[in-house]
Symmetry: C2
Subunit: 376 residues, 2 copies
């Protein structure tokens, strides 16, 4: 899949106590940067990736040889302008692109962790990544930005480190994973663990890959990333390279072929156990619960300027759930903007070329940075 | 799973040409009846079941020992009152409760069909079931009724046999399976065929069951049967018999436990290959396409009185898709009523105790039957 030695990595020596109770130390965080940190070190943006993302946000991902997952958004003169800002993105712990994860070797037992890897949380993820600020000697970020699970990390980061960012942009996310969200994640986990080759998580040491189960998990998730209307407009009932039904179980419809393709390319770039761990972290996420049910309390200590973005056709993290974050921020008089972007592209809108979204992100960042410079 | 000899069955001797081009004959249709056919034989209702339903609509299903799937609706003095009406329901062909299906033996090769069974369509299903009218010497049914895939059969039946029913009640259905519907069905099929024990469909002869894959397929489908709001109200983030997270991959949340249970009980009563065949039939369903894209033409020859029912929180077959049927009927001045029932219970509303729904069905049938009797 990849060769870890090709990846930029820092080793976090400082012990990190995880929510599960275990403590980890001397663990790797793989990261990438884009643009240059200025002398005043006030132009840094930390981007958090979503479930299946990684540190390669912009340009060509050197591992997959495809465009970085946020290449529409991040780059020279783009919405997150790397001619202006210094962008950092790290692979989350639990992931499979170089950061400490279940496919790493346990140096004590000399075996690959598999399901012996500790269950991690969104809180653990941001507590690991905050070490990047020390690494770059950055006292305060200009912004923390992320969509989907990246948005959850934005919220958790500001809550944990209220003085470490000027602005925060949670996109298409939620402060608390809903029953339906958990249900779809559990479906993916069940698909993976049902695979004969999963081998109770020990597939790597046996040279197997639970690729069929992982592909099914990806297909399930992929359906949730698109809107019913978007699917209908893009695929409808169009047939796949045939004039009529074949009366068999091949992919007659384009949508079938598309889903199968999405499943098959995913297994080449993603680790099944990482999928289990990261979905678990999302399901455990409930920021309000960390503050006895009062979400506003999570943000009481910060002066960060928030900008919350949702999409009309996102049914995974619908506008209403994004608005609840805005309401909690308004309740304590926080500085918060909100926009719901019109789009038929569902939850995936934040990854795609949606002009209103791209313009909105650019405007918010550039205006906020101008204000920051005028103040200082 | 069951013993076919316990089931009421008729053998259809007449050859039936299937949409796939093959012809079948001397094949069994398993059915059940409730109530009594009156002397004028004008009180018969043919109920069509949904994807995983069977002929046991009312009372206790003798195979599963659980309530029949429409026991809320059908029975003495219930909405479909078996003191008054004679109810017939048959297992669809392709199914696994006694009607001709992929787990039957091919009498030529003496092997279980598996994926050698012909791919069947909704059209084939109703063309097989219409033989029940001859069996009971019924010239014209009082009503054809069904929800979900049962609703598709209602539409197809009236289109194929415009003079064979007085009324038609399609519930929570569509005239054409959407891309999202196909996507979820394909997900289920992929889960089944990914199972190591599926064995290219030949699991029965090898004494295996692809139970894990079938359970995943059921979990996926089950999520689509419930609304986001309904799931949130019923389960939310409630934990399963524990005070806090266990930081593992057991079912921490009630919703996880519930889905796993739904998957596990399903595999005891349903056949994996039948799941493939029946979902395929649903995906192929496009009644408008049968009439060169003009849905109204499907109903031009019938004088049947229609009543279309949808549910507010059904996102699998949303109100809009049900309304399109009404619009097509209105366009030719057909006799059609429509109601959208308020319910948080999602697509499953038609199976559950939703008082407005129960009352609506009762009113429509009893009023229509009264009119019929006054006319004659």
């Amino acid at each position: 899949m990849k060769n870890d030695k090709d990846l930029k990595t820092i080793i976090i020596k400082k012990p990190l106590k995880l929510d599960c109770g275990k403590t980890i130390s001397n663990f790797p965080i793989a990261y990438e940067t884009y643009g240059s940190l200025n002398d005043s070190k006030d132009n840094a943006i930390l981007i958090f990736h979503a479930l299946t993302g990684d540190q390669f946000v912009s340009g060509i991902n050197p591992i997959t040889k495809k465009e970085g997952w946020w290449n529409n958004v991040v780059g020279p003169d783009k919405s997150i302008n790397t001619n202006k800002y210094f962008v950092i993105c790290a692979n989350v712990i639990g992931g499979c692109m170089g950061s400490f994860g279940p496919n790493h070797k346990n140096l004590v037992s000399n075996k690959i962790y598999g399901t012996d890897f500790p269950v991690i949380t969104i809180n653990d993820m941001v507590n690991a990544q905050v070490n990047l600020l020390d690494h770059f000697k950055i006292k305060k970020l200009f912004s923390v930005i992320g969509g989907s699970m990246g948005g959850m990390q934005v919220l958790q980061f500001v809550s944990n480190f209220p003085d470490k960012t000027q602005t925060a942009v949670p996109i298409a996310c939620t402060y608390s994973h809903s029953a339906q969200n958990i249900a779809f994640n559990e479906l993916g986990r069940q698909a993976i663990t049902a695979d004969h080759n999963w081998l109770a998580g020990n597939y790597t040491s046996k040279n197997k890959i639970p690729d069929k189960g992982l592909a099914v998990a990806r297909m399930a998730a992929h359906i949730t990333y698109l809107s019913k209307k978007g699917l209908q407009e893009k695929f409808g009932r169009k047939l796949q390279e045939r004039d009529d039904f074949k009366f068999g179980f091949d992919a007659d419809f384009q949508i079938e072929s598309y889903l199968r393709y999405q499943g098959s390319v995913f297994v080449d770039r993603f680790d099944a156990n990482s999928y289990l761990y990261i979905t678990r972290a999302m399901d455990y996420f409930d920021l309000a619960k960390q503050f006895n049910g009062n979400l506003s309390d999570a943000f009481k200590k910060t002066k960060a300027k928030f900008f919350v973005i949702s999409f009309t056709s996102d049914w995974l993290y619908p506008t209403q759930e994004n608005k609840e974050i805005v309401i909690a921020l308004n309740a304590i008089g926080a500085n918060v903007g909100f926009v719901e972007i019109e789009s038929d592209k569902g939850h995936d809108s934040f990854l795609l070329n949606v002009p209103d979204f791209l313009q909105t992100v650019k405007n918010f960042l550039d205006q906020s940075y101008k204000e920051l410079k005028n103040e200082s």
